[in-house]
């Protein structure tokens, strides 16, 4: 039933698409071979957004990244929204569809943020049911992304990396490894990000995300990192990324820059940095 990869993303750099970069990307994409769009921005009936997306899809592989499905929600999935996703994936035929291990909608209110989940057996069962439903409706495998988290749940009984592996095993979904999220959560939750990566099922990863974070302070004087996507990728995140590709092989790698978005050459240069890491890792494999 699941279409897992005849049109998979290339193991090359991609960027989160911003309309202000349209002309720059078309004129000089540099090392960028694919683009990621937020599904919810392309659910209108026509106009410039869809015209640009059609033009981009003729030249680049496209990844559709949902930010509003609320896969971890306690309530049922929004079937109207799922139908919109199916329609978008139907005409666009993207190389990948991904969503988050998070929730954003409760009781008909959409909170526009990726809210955290307690990792318990009850949450696991609910998330798996929802992913089964998504893959059934879309008729394809989806990737599930590890979140940035800022707090813990007293009721949690599982580690995140165990939870994700279990979801993938039960549903057949792939994983989207956000390396910045690993680093942000590690600092915020006080675990070792390198050890987390060593236990992450990299063979199930179809895509990697890199992005910038901001530094803040939490209660009791502890550091707190915010997944802000408004700056270059931080050095420790580049180091973790190199570890991930050395350990699991090269993957399609996205630079996410959603706030204080820079001019196209700056974003292209950041994608170039990912291309260098991929080239070094690829050379090691062939050597």
């Amino acid at each position: 039933m699941l279409d897992t990869g005849s049109r998979a993303l290339p193991a090359a750099p991609g960027v989160g698409y911003k309309p202000q970069h349209f002309a720059g990307i078309m004129a000089d994409p540099g090392p960028v071979r694919w683009l990621e769009v937020h599904a919810e921005n392309y659910m209108g009936a026509g106009g410039r957004p869809l015209a640009q997306l059609r033009a981009l899809a003729e030249r680049f592989a496209i990844s559709v990244h949902g930010v509003g499905l609320s896969i971890g929600g306690e309530g049922a999935l929004d079937t109207a929204h799922l139908a919109r996703l199916k329609a978008l994936c139907g005409w666009l035929r993207p190389a990948s569809f991904s969503e988050h291990l998070a929730w954003s909608t409760h009781d008909g209110v959409f909170l526009n943020d990726l809210l955290p989940l307690p990792y318990t057996q009850a949450t696991l069962a609910r998330v798996c049911d929802h992913i089964d439903q998504v893959q059934e409706v879309l008729g394809r495998q989806m990737l599930l992304e590890n979140p940035s988290t800022y707090l813990s749940f007293a009721q949690a009984t599982m580690e995140e990396v165990v939870f994700l592996r279990e979801v993938a095993q039960r549903t057949g979904c792939g994983l989207l490894l956000d390396v910045n999220n690993v680093f942000v959560s590690a600092v915020n939750q006080g675990f070792d990000p390198a050890a987390y990566l060593r236990r992450f099922p990299l063979e199930l990863v179809g895509e990697i995300h890199l992005g910038g974070h901001a530094e803040d302070a939490a209660d009791h004087g502890m550091p707190l990192l915010i997944d802000a996507h408004g700056t270059p990728v931080a050095d420790p995140v580049w180091a973790l990324y190199a570890q991930a590709v050395a350990q699991g092989g090269t993957r399609a790698t996205l630079i996410e820059w959603d706030n204080d978005v820079p001019d196209w050459p700056v974003l292209r240069a950041e994608a170039g940095r990912a291309a260098q890491v991929l080239a070094r890792a690829g050379a090691r494999v062939t050597a």
Binding site: G46, R48, G68, D78, D113, L151, N188, L224
Partner: protein, 242 residues
């Protein structure tokens, strides 16, 4: 801890912290919870700022940001497609005492909703002006005119069209003339236009599937040439049916 308690607390700044949310040492973590509170509020304020740029210019950015916090708590989004967020904003403005002296503000919010709606509306291929010009007048009057799916109509007694134009980057300042508005999208960028006399009634008639003649009968005193010229220039006539 239920998502109901979390959702309530994340939207309302004065609500108590839900139990069971802790830091890695198991201590209560109000500042950590505030990250979610801040992100929810800031992202929805940003969505309203993006959706209502002219209202924001009219009341000033600081006032708009403060008002947006009230709006998003009274009327949070009902779904994840935020291009439609803000439908309740015009009515909110009608009932929000601090802007009661700005009578035109609710209509400006309505217009900005329609402009955004038009931006995302379906595409259609416009008819060339020659196709209309080639028709003898009786045949034209007997025709039903199909209009672009991106066309939007708004009755108004305020000069919102002129105020909207004056608040665009490099925008001209048309005379402050009140009246009904039609939003037309020749290619990708919708613009509001002041409707000539009877224009609203004529276009409503055409939308209802009336022939041009019947639409005119329903709009005594309408300036047919002005209406058709406006629609043609806005590339809003997409079909002629006998």
């Amino acid at each position: 801890m239920s998502q109901s308690a979390f959702a309530q607390a994340v939207l309302m700044p004065d609500a108590p912290l839900p139990p069971g949310l802790v830091d890695p040492q198991g201590r209560p973590a109000p500042r950590r919870f505030d990250v979610y509170r801040n992100t929810v509020a800031a992202s929805l304020v940003a969505a309203l700022e993006e959706g209502f740029p002219v209202v924001r210019q009219l009341v000033g950015a600081p006032f708009f940001a403060a008002m947006a916090l009230v709006v998003l708590r009274a009327h949070p989004p009902e779904g994840p497609v935020l291009s439609g967020y803000g439908a309740a904003f015009p009515t909110f403005l009608e009932q929000f005492p601090p802007v009661a002296h700005l009578g035109y503000l609710p209509d400006m919010a309505r217009l900005e909703l329609l402009v955004r709606d038009s931006y995302h509306a379906a595409d259609a291929v416009p008819l060339a002006a020659e196709a209309l010009a080639a028709l003898p007048v009786p045949a034209l009057l007997a025709s039903r005119i199909g209009l672009a799916p991106s066309l939007r109509l708004m009755p108004s007694r305020w000069p919102v069209q002129a105020i909207w134009c004056a608040h665009q980057a490099g925008g001209a300042e048309p005379p402050m003339q009140p009246g009904d508005v039609v939003v037309l999208r020749p290619e990708f960028d919708p613009r509001p236009h002041l409707l000539p006399a009877g224009g609203l009634a004529v276009i409503r008639g055409l939308h209802a599937g009336l022939t041009l003649e019947a639409a005119l009968d329903a709009a005594p005193g309408a300036d047919l040439t002005a209406v058709l010229t406006l629609l043609l220039r806005g590339r809003a006539i997409v079909e002629l049916r006998r």
